[in-house]
Amino acid sequence: MNARPPMDIPNAAGAPAILRRLLGLLRRERGWLAGGAALALLSMLAGIGLLAVSGHFITAMALAGVGGSAINYYTPAALIRLFAILRTGGRYVERLVTHEATLRALAEFRVWLFGRLVPLAPARLGALRSAELFSRLRADVDALEHAYLAVLVPLAVAAAATLAVLAVALAYLPWLALGLLLLLAAGGLLLPWWTLRRGEAPGAEAVAAAESLRTLAADGLRGRAELALYGAEGAHAARVATLTARLQQARRRTDGLQALGGAGIALAAQLAVIAALLLGVPALRRGALTGPDLAMLALLAQAGFEAIAPLPAAWAQLGATLAAARRVFALADTAPAIAEPAAPSPAVADHGLDVRALRLRYDEHGPWVLDGLDLALPPGRRLALLGRSGAGKSSLVGALLRLYPYQQGEIRLGGQPYAAWQGDDVRARIAVVEQQPYLFDASLRDNLRLARPDASDAQLDAAIAQAQLGDYVASLPEGLDTWVGENGTRVSGGEARRIAIARALLADAPILILDEPTEGLDAGTAAALYQALATAMQGRSVLLITHRLGGLSTLVDEVAVMAGGRIVERVAAEVYRARRDVESGAEVSA
């Protein structure tokens, strides 16, 4: 099935629209999200306030000490204690609430995305077949899930805290407010913008170099025998060294820019203090400002920059988040290849499949992959479909399973056209033994139960025995609880095929499709599989798809030969066998 659906649908939506949509998805958690941001702001302001009030307090106390005048020190001292408590406790609660919000958002988002992607598989989800696109999707989902903590909270807190600091400065010393605005903008907006711009090229270079290095490392493992035999290991190591140097050169530049962003904010904070002194001292002389207020403003000027310290990282993350959101939303917004009918599926008396003049192609201007295909599979009939690779066999399976749309002609199930059927109801009547069955990273039991979640152990055992898996399961240290799939026990091609047969048996559907059941297996393993297949076929309609029939011909009643997207010949299995024995080697080779 080689349809290539569009992945990068151009999306002109701007950043605010994307963020609104992201937040809209999480509206059920908006209380947590807003609460977390508010708490973060509170503890930030408490920290800034603590320093500013302390400066004011000690100056006022010193003035009172020098002047011998009375002073109300209860209020500022209480304020200092309050800020200290708000700061300490606020940080703790803030962290809990923002993490709670993140985890809730994460669960919500994943369930949403999963639900959107289900109807797209596999016809519209090329991303899941290419390792590269899949790992990009993984990174995108990751970026979106951390958008709240890494982007939204820092940006919101920086904006609100900056406004608060500027408002205070404006009340005491308007020119200082302007100076702070310029410095905060320089450190929090301009410099990050500039470093991001400058960092784009080395950043892309680093990604490309790391990717090349990965390829090279994979070459060094998969091709180690060739490298050793051809004496090319030294040259390989030299290439690794060269690429490492290239990668590090790019990283050196991005790292330097990152350091520049951080150091720039620290520099701006110190310049803000100098500005406060330069503007504040004359104001003090003029009597426009009191001593304590000047000390407070100097400390406020410096502390205010704490709020924008996370901004360089947040801006960088924002770009990544928006790009990720664009891609994920474009994928999630893809229209399913097949629209489900509104009405429930029709009730039918039998499960005959009837394909008439079927034409299918994967894109509008592409060649017809199925080109006027006629095929009837009455209930209980066992038919082998024989054809070279590229003859359209897999495309027919995709269409029969209602996973890929067709453009012309018709498929009928039990006499009712596919258009009237819910896809799930079609698939409930067809079990398929996939050529490369997907094993989930779960126990063997869970992988089997996929086909029938309520299967009892006895039913599982029966399916395992019928699929000739008994010896294999007995050889596993933990039996059915053995972990298989990505991080589990390695499963050979033959074993995976038999697991798929057991699944199909458990699914217990009236129609069975076998997709290249013996491809890639050696003769001995294939022979062992015939028995399992024969059991699975009992009492079912069968469509057996292969490019090389061989011994499989004993399992079917009829053989249909497919070429150029249509059936070119259909004969009884005995006739086919007899003919093959006569002109041995006339078999279709792919």
Binding site: G55, I80, L106, V111, V141, G220, R224, Y230, L267, Y438
Partner: protein, 577 residues
């Protein structure tokens, strides 16, 4: 006893300790400048507020502030550059060490690894180390150094304030351990589980079609929601505790400021303290705890580095896998090669032999065909011949000399190999051919391409021989990759040809072209080949039948076919399939 990952990481820092020390010194110098800046600010404010001085009198102090700020700026950039360099050098050195290691571990070991995992370790694992040396390790030093500098600055100004800081100072190492241990464990658990949850989500996405086939998508969606919910509840329980250590740290950092402010205020009121000194201390108080708080933010660098170090240590550990290379040194050069296996036994792991008592002899310039079911040990014979492993028992001789005594590189120059699944390197077809013979000229290349029936493949590629191959470029089918290996063998022009015959179904014209090319290539050479299809073996072909790691039958095809033994049974199974 292997060192802990942290000790291992610190040992890697030894060659770059000068760079790290320079970076740390720059950090300490920044702390000194922080103190100087605070002193100047306190001076200006004290003079302005209490002595009524204006800008005209205060300009020397004010004019000193920008250079101090600029010096801090420059030092922090320089420090980062130095420590980055340290991290980069450790990474580059390690990658070379790993290359040497992979070479020693050899092709057999490489073939057994899951390449995705290992590539992640080799590339991303090494990359994860740089931030550890560039960021985390210097930060640890700052956490110890900066408070000392500040303490020394505060001590002469306000001794009792220094005492307050000093009293909390011993708590710093306590917190480092506190933050280090419990929080780290908690957050590691959390990250592991988050990764697992993420892995499950991605697993569900990769298997989406299968889920749809079994109408399990809705069930899986509910399961994902439940898993997310359970994860949230568990995690929050852990976090409530994990964040406590940060709370304690925050508490001390904040409260020390508040306490100092209040104490300073009352001493100033009582006239027992000079304002400038009091303000100086207040300005420095936040800086005292700053490095420790920054350390917490960089903890993930340490976690990533430790996780990466574990993977790399395992790879570099000596007991991981004994190098299997034969260590012979005798030079070898001969255009005629006679081979003999003498009672050879071999097992990939101890106690599980895959070859037993193999006796075989192939005279120079002749051909022997190996047949047998998969797993019978045929390709292991090739592995031993190429010197990727040495026999556990018995010996292999080349022209009567023990293979184990020959220099492997010299010996391998005599071998051309057509693998069943040859590796196609990232690069062009030309690069892929030149791997086998880097000095081959254009003419030789063209001859090899023609002989291996690759001409049609090249015609299909947009840039011919120079088209990039690989995931993003044009791919080669299994059959085409084998023809590439055949062309490599042709270029190699070696006296011994190891040939694993195609199992891929080729169209007849191509199959015939390749058969013809193989015949020509084999002429005059010693050939050992593995055949998968038995029905087209010629009657006079010499065959050895393998089963269960032994040679169970050998002789001419015609003889064996008539003998109704193992060969005949294989032939039947082959015809039936």
């Amino acid at each position: 006893m292997s060192p802990t990952p942290v000790r291992w990481l610190r040992e890697r820092a030894r060659p770059v300790r000068r760079l790290l020390a320079a970076g740390i010194a720059a950090g300490a110098a920044q702390a000194v400048l922080v103190c100087a800046g605070a002193w100047l600010v306190a001076y200006v404010l004290a003079q302005a507020i209490f002595a009524g001085r204006g800008l005209a009198e205060l300009w020397p102090a004010l004019a000193t502030l920008p250079p101090v700020a600029a010096a801090r700026f420059a030092l922090s950039l320089w420090q980062r550059r130095a420590t980055f360099e340290a991290g980069a050098r450790v990474g580059a050195g390690l990658r070379q060490t790993l290359e040497t290691r992979l070479r020693a571990l050899g092709p057999l070991w490489a073939a057994r690894q899951s390449s995705g995992d290992l590539v992640t370790r080799l590339v991303d694992g090494v990359e994860a180390l740089t931030p550890y040396y560039a960021g985390y390790l210097p930060q640890v030093a700052f956490t110890a150094l900066v408070p000392v500098v500040i303490l020394l600055a505060v001590l002469p100004a306000v001794p009792w304030a220094a005492l307050v800081l000093l009293l909390t100072a011993p708590l710093i190492p306590v917190f480092m351990i506190l933050v280090g241990r419990s929080a780290q464990q908690a957050s590691e658990r959390r990250w592991t589980r988050l990764r697992r949850l993420g892995a499950r989500f991605m697993d569900a996405l990769s298997g989406l079609t299968t889920l749809r086939l079994y109408r399990a998508a809705t069930r899986e969606q509910a399961a994902l929601a439940a898993a997310g919910e359970a994860y949230r509840r568990d995690t929050m329980a852990v976090l409530r505790v994990a964040f406590l250590s940060a709370l304690v740290l925050e508490f001390f950092a904040t409260v020390s400021i508040a306490v100092l402010a209040v104490l300073i205020g009352f001493r100033l009121l009582a006239g027992r303290l000079d304002f400038q000194h009091g303000l100086f201390v207040l300005l420095l108080a936040p800086e005292f705890y700053l490095p420790l708080r920054a350390l917490g933010a960089q903890r993930h660098q340490r976690m990533d580095a430790v996780a990466a170090a574990e993977g790399l240590m395992e790879l570099l550990a000596d007991d991981h896998a004994t190098p299997t290379e034969p260590a012979g040194v005798r030079p070898f050069a001969n255009r005629r090669i006679a081979l003999a296996f003498e009672r050879v036994g071999y097992g990939y792991s101890a106690g599980r032999a895959v070859l037993h008592d193999i006796d075989l002899a192939v005279e120079a310039g002749t051909r022997l065909t190996l047949v047998g079911t998969s797993g019978s040990g045929k390709s292991t014979l090739f592995t031993l011949l190429m010197g990727f492993a040495a026999p556990d028992l018995g010996r292999i001789t080349v022209n009567g000399e023990d293979l184990a005594l020959l220099d492997p590189a010299a010996w391998r120059r005599h071998i051309a190999w057509v693998a069943q699944r040859p590796h196609v390197f990232r690069g062009s077809l030309r690069d892929n051919l030149l791997v086998a013979a880097p000095e081959a000229g254009e003419e030789a290349l063209q001859r090899a391409v023609q002989a291996a029936a690759l001409t049609t493949v090249i015609a299909r590629l947009p840039q011919g021989l120079d088209t990039p191959l690989g995931e993003r470029g044009q791919g080669l089918s299994g059959g085409e990759a084998q023809r590439l290996a055949l062309a490599r063998a042709w270029l190699r022009d070696a006296p011994l040809l190891l040939l694993d015959e195609p199992t891929q179904h080729l169209d007849r014209a191509t199959a015939a072209a390749i058969d013809h090319a193989l015949e020509r290539l084999a002429a005059g050479r010693t050939v050992l080949r593995i055949a998968h299809r038995l029905d087209n073996l010629a009657d006079e072909e010499r065959v050895a039948v393998m089963a269960g790691g032994r040679i169970v039958e050998s002789g001419r095809v015609a003889t064996l076919r008539a003998a109704r033994g193992a060969f005949a049974r294989l032939l039947d199974a082959d015809r039936a399939a």
